[in-house]
């Protein structure tokens, strides 16, 4: 495993574009979160200190940071897609296999890299969140701090699932641009399926939502629902119709893990049956 990870890391870290994108996708979000936690003075006119609104309090902070940091995953998605498409365009995939890498090892080396970067990102966000949280909240009771860390697990699974999806699209389409375009098409496609089910089952939003929750992108999004509504609810608990289910459920994690498995397996099958 170390050997396979080592091989892929060399390919990535010696490539300038990949290196820049990796930095953007993993370091930038923490700076943004860190900066937003500071007191910002707008030309002396007014000051904004987000911390004052209590959004950096435990346990809400876990939800807020993981939700916003996850947007930056798109930069690493470009890296994942191009680390596959480059192998095709440089024809190094063929050379790697001839040199004695098996097709299984080739996919695994990519997958381990995805796990590796997802883990780093998860560990980083854990420490950033806990430091900001400790700075802003008066709570220092361990049980309350720990409450909400399921969002960290959700964050990891979300990255893992999304990058595995990108890996699969890269293997399937072989061109970065096509793969990224397909990602967008898939988003639209999921809405079409939603609409199709809605029409087919007598305008039932319930059934349509249930089906959509099983689709790749929607299931990944569901892991960490938007936290804004939750933040508003904290201030005005009387708005009952604002209530929604923002919790991380075990079945949501299971669906995304199942997709991850499917995507990695399909990537392997694609490669296995392909003549290079």
């Amino acid at each position: 495993m170390k050997r396979l990870l080592n091989i892929e890391l060399q390919k990535l870290l010696l490539n300038k574009t990949s290196k820049v994108l990796i930095i953007i996708s993993f370091i930038l979000p923490f700076f943004v979160i860190l900066l937003s936690s500071f007191k910002i003075n707008f030309f002396g006119l007014f000051t904004i200190e987000l911390g004052e609104y209590g959004i950096f309090n435990f346990p809400l902070i876990w939800h807020i940071t993981t939700f916003f940091a996850a947007f930056f995953k798109i930069f690493f998605a470009v890296v994942v897609v191009s680390m596959v498409s480059n192998e095709y365009s440089y024809k190094t995939l063929k050379q790697n296999l001839i040199d004695g890498l098996s097709k299984k090892e080739f996919i695994l080396s990519k997958f381990y890299t995805i796990v590796f970067f997802s883990l780093i990102s998860t560990v980083l966000i854990f420490f950033i969140t806990i430091s900001i949280g400790l700075y802003y909240s008066s709570i220092d009771e361990f049980s309350i701090i720990i409450k909400g860390t399921e969002f960290i697990l959700a964050y990891f699974v979300k990255l893992l699932g999304f990058f595995s999806f990108c890996l699969f699209l890269g293997m399937l389409l072989r061109k970065s641009a096509f793969a990224l375009a397909f990602l967008f098409i898939e988003y639209i496609l999921e809405w079409f399926i939603y609409w199709g089910v809605y029409e087919a089952f007598d305008n039932s939003t319930e059934k349509a939502e249930m089906v959509k929750n099983f689709l790749p992108l929607e299931s990944m999004y569901n892991l960490i629902n938007q936290p804004i509504q939750r933040a508003i609810m904290m201030y005005s608990p009387e708005k009952v119709d604002f209530a929604y289910d923002y919790a991380v459920h075990w079945y949501e994690i299971l669906i995304v893990l199942a997709w991850t498995g499917i995507f990695i397996f399909l990537s392997y099958r694609l490669l296995k049956n392909r003549d290079l």
Binding site: N6, Y90, T92, Q95, N96, I98, L101, N273, D275
Partner: protein
């Protein structure tokens, strides 16, 4: 003699097209083999199958008596296919380092092999700055990293200038002289003739011949003849069962022998029949002529 690679009834179909058809041959240690065939005869496909990049339709192949999986076996093989494929943004050294990681070879070999192919001064330049000849030499260095049991080369001089071709051929000969088994696929006959001791001839995916280069055609040679009575000579030879093919071009008659015959006996025989030869040469066919004869004789439009 230990077997390095054995291929048994290998077939590859691309849809309706059969690229390789029931191919069988064996590669033994210590020989230099050539796979010969026109473009599209299935050379690269065959190599692709044994190198794990093309899926076979049916048949078997075994590396080193079949005791290890293909990708493990390939760690003991050095192979270059068509064009050198490396990461353009990495230096020569880093590219070879990656190959070392894949093959599980120590990094100490890198400088040694770069020295052999004469690229040691450029080891830190990015691969994309290399000329085609240099890229091909780097590919050879990469294939040699693991001190392979067998070196497989697919059209190694394709697209190179005369100087580059010469450099690569010298390298191959040097490697062969050190006892490394080599499998060389090429459509360039003189290339094969110069380096190989054994040859496999393919045409449209089918094996026409496999064995020693000098025994390729069971030929008794041919006569090149000139006389003033050309048409009489041709008529005479065509009637003779000792010759299987007689051609005439600009007064030069070429007669291929069906059975052994001495030039002096032949001359005597002709003189007795009233034909005086002004030119008589008995020759063994060159590899090129043998090859053409071989690929021609299975052609349905033969005369």
């Amino acid at each position: 003699m230990s077997e390095i690679l054995s291929i048994d009834n290998l077939t590859k179909k691309y849809g309706y097209l059969t690229a390789v058809s029931n191919l069988s041959f064996t590669i033994n240690k210590g020989n230099v083999y050539g796979i010969l065939g026109p473009n599209g005869s299935g050379k690269s496909t065959t190599l692709g199958i044994v190198l794990n990049v093309v899926n076979r339709t049916s048949g078997e192949f075994k590396w080193f008596d079949g005791t290890v999986s293909t990708h493990e076996a390939l760690k003991k093989v050095g192979a270059i296919i068509e064009r050198p494929n490396f990461y353009p943004y990495m230096s020569a050294y880093d590219n070879l380092k990656l190959v070392c990681k894949i093959k599980g070879v120590s990094y100490e070999k890198i400088d040694e092999k770069l020295e052999i192919v004469g690229l040691i001064e450029r080891k830190n330049s990015p691969f994309r700055t290399f000329s085609l000849g240099m890229k091909q030499r780097l590919a050879i260095a990469s294939a040699l990293l693991n001190d392979p049991e067998i070196l497989i080369l697919d059209e190694p001089t394709n697209g190179l200038d005369p100087q580059g071709i010469h450099q690569i051929r010298t390298l191959i000969k040097q490697i062969a002289s050190e006892g490394t088994t080599i499998l060389l696929a090429s459509h360039l006959l003189d290339e094969v003739e110069k380096v190989c001791s054994h040859v496999v001839v393919l045409r449209k995916g089918e094996k026409l011949y496999s064995g020693r280069v000098d025994e390729m055609v069971s030929s008794f040679g041919f006569f090149e003849l000139r006389t003033e009575k050309t048409s009489e000579l041709v008529k005479l030879l065509q009637a003779d069962a000792a010759f299987n093919k007689v051609t005439e071009l600009d007064g030069l008659v070429t007669a291929f022998l069906e059975q052994p015959m001495d030039a002096s006996d032949f001359n005597k025989m002709m003189y007795e029949k009233g034909i005086v030869l002004s030119h008589l040469v008995k020759r063994k066919p060159s590899l090129e002529e043998q090859f053409l004869q071989l690929t021609d004789s299975t052609n349905p439009t033969k005369n």
